[in-house]
Amino acid sequence: MDLQINVHHLTRVEGHGNIVIDMQSGQLKKAQLEIVEPPRFFEAMLKGRNFHEAAIITSRICGICSLGHQMTSLKATEAALGLAISEQTLKLRKILVHGATFQSNVLHALFLAAPDFLNVGSVFPLINTHKEVVLAALRLKRLANEIGELISGRAVHPISCVPGGFTKLPTNEELAALREKLVTQAIPDASFVVEVVASLAGAIPDFVRETEYISVYSPQEYGLYDGQICSSDSGLHPVDDYLRVTNEFIVPHSTSKHARFNRSSYFVGALARFNNSSALLSPLAKDVAARLGLQAPNYNPYMNTVAQVVEVAHCVEDTIRLIDELLATGIKAEKPNQEPTRYGRGMATTEVPRGILFHDYTYNRQGQIEKANCIIPTGQNLANIDDDMKKLVPEIIGEGKAAITKKLEMLVRAYDPCISCSVHLLDVQFDE
């Protein structure tokens, strides 16, 4: 049995990648996702930049993850310069992370992944056939943008998040109005989306490959904004150990580096978070997981899309809780704390929609970056995707080339890869 598959510039993913399968006489010679996105050299750009600029620059690694990059960047800068943030800043940032997460999850699950379940090539035909759910998804997305616009000035490449706090704060009235929309609109819309996803669950391929799951973990809350590194194989690791966890290496078929920790590959993203932290989900999200038949641990990578939908419910519900806490004390006028108490190295991690993200900066005494490193979720997933394909292709080899190609495309899409992010380029050393 010979089989050659080459999907050039896979559609409905962020960035450019090709799927290449080569099977000769029943032997799988090659099963890989080639990353062909042009590299962008961000770490090189950061060298010599002032601490005010780090988050502005790293935001441009990826538009979809711009908020997550900013949060991680600000935390790394604050750790390096010893800048404490207020409880209010912390809560506002957590709301921003929730908004960005549910926005991205809705966009991926409904607009990029769902067309596969309904056998169409894009979301556009669904505007006629499934108008109500498209509208509900658009409303959720719109509301997530409103969260971004209200608290950070702009949904793509936020403006007012700076080291030490915010340059502009929302008013109590604006937050109350947002809360109202979340309760009256986002909760029903999310529930409706859940029902639609439940009705499509039969189209999710049945495939199992147990692997290592890595995510941010916090004992107090579902790990998103901050916490330690959690591996399903080896438990908790401090953030400062991130290089030991990620072990990046170059492979010739990708402009993005690969990663491995306790095994040949590991999984990051919604399913990893769910597997490691499902006990900490909000009550509504737990109901949704039960409704969608998702139980931890789950070893089907296609279920990542379902875990994303569970998180939509969590993020909406937890945002309401955080707004209530902020309104109980009222928003206090405060300036960002930008007086460094030290200069040195700072490392930080945040969960962005696609998985665990690391930023690591070293500052000199002028508050300028000497060395920078960013490790992106999609890069960490690439080895795991290749390993999935190696197990999947022989299992479905009898289904014919068209069906195999579709399942492979769906597999890669299930990871919601963010290819622009993954080729921002890593570990540039400067010798001067």
């Binding site: 409905r12 962008r40 050299f41 620059i57 538009g63 556009f124 949904a155």
Partner: protein, 244 residues
């Protein structure tokens, strides 16, 4: 009249401009009544042979990009550059300030020839660009204005005054006067001074005004307490190709 065929393409970019475009959810469905989206890789599988309007996001930064953009230009009646990466090279052009071969070698070692990279250039360095929507991300109101004008067959209006003008109209508190940095005096308007409006400084993401006096700008920033090196570095953030 049949609906205009519209296509979107992405080159070296963060895809933030495309995302920003999807963010007009309210206008989005209306828009679909007036145009046919025939190609949009991020959202759909279809591919088309020709387009009335092609929107291009991102910079030209590999030999393959050059081939692709020539091909798109041949098929497109009107070509619009979306966002600063496409209009000037944007943040990508910062890498042009470093030795390209050396940077690649640091990253990929002996494998560097597998990943060719050329200086990041604006789309207009390779093919004719009919209209530009500046900004990083591209300014939403400006995009809608150009989009609607083209669909209705009108000539869009182009801005060439400084962000400060818009900022003063909005009656924002001047961040430069508060001791912060700001590139509003030398940056091209069209964003409604959204950054100073949010208490943040203008990073110059829409590129310099056409009659920029670079030395004057550096001097102005020096008077506000920023060293010449710092001023130049920040001016280069989004405009390395235009100012170096």
């Amino acid at each position: 009249m049949s609906k205009p065929k519209v296509a979107f393409f992405d080159f070296t970019s963060c895809e933030g401009c495309q995302l920003n475009k999807l963010n007009f959810e309210n206008d989005f469905l209306d828009m679909l009544e007036h145009v046919d989206i025939v190609e949009f890789r991020e959202a759909m599988d279809d591919k088309a042979d020709e387009y009335d309007i092609a929107f291009i996001e991102g910079s030209i930064s590999t030999p393959t990009c050059i081939e692709r953009i020539h091909d798109i230009r041949r098929r497109a009646k009107v070509l619009v550059a979306l966002g600063q990466c496409a209009c000037s090279g944007g943040v990508n052009a910062m890498k042009n300030l470093h030795q390209p071969d050396w940077v690649r070698e640091e990253v990929y070692g002996n494998e560097k020839y597998r990943f060719p990279s050329i200086p990041a250039q604006p789309v207009s360095a390779v093919v004719k660009v009919d209209y530009e929507v500046r900004g990083c991300p591209m300014s939403a109101p400006e995009y809608l204005h150009i989009f609607k004008s083209l669909v209705m067959g009108r000539k869009p209006e182009i801005f060439d005054h400084a962000v400060c003008v818009e900022c003063k109209l909005k009656e924002n508190e001047c961040v430069l006067d508060k001791g912060m940095f700001c590139l509003g005096p030398v940056t091209r308007a069209g964003c409604e001074a959204i950054c100073p409006g949010n208490g943040q400084y203008c990073t110059g993401c829409r590129g310099p005004i056409s009659n920029l006096n670079l030395e004057g700008a550096v001097e102005m920033l020096r008077e506000h307490g920023f060293s010449e090196t710092e001023a130049r570095k920040r001016l280069h953030l989004f405009s390395a190709n235009e100012l170096v």
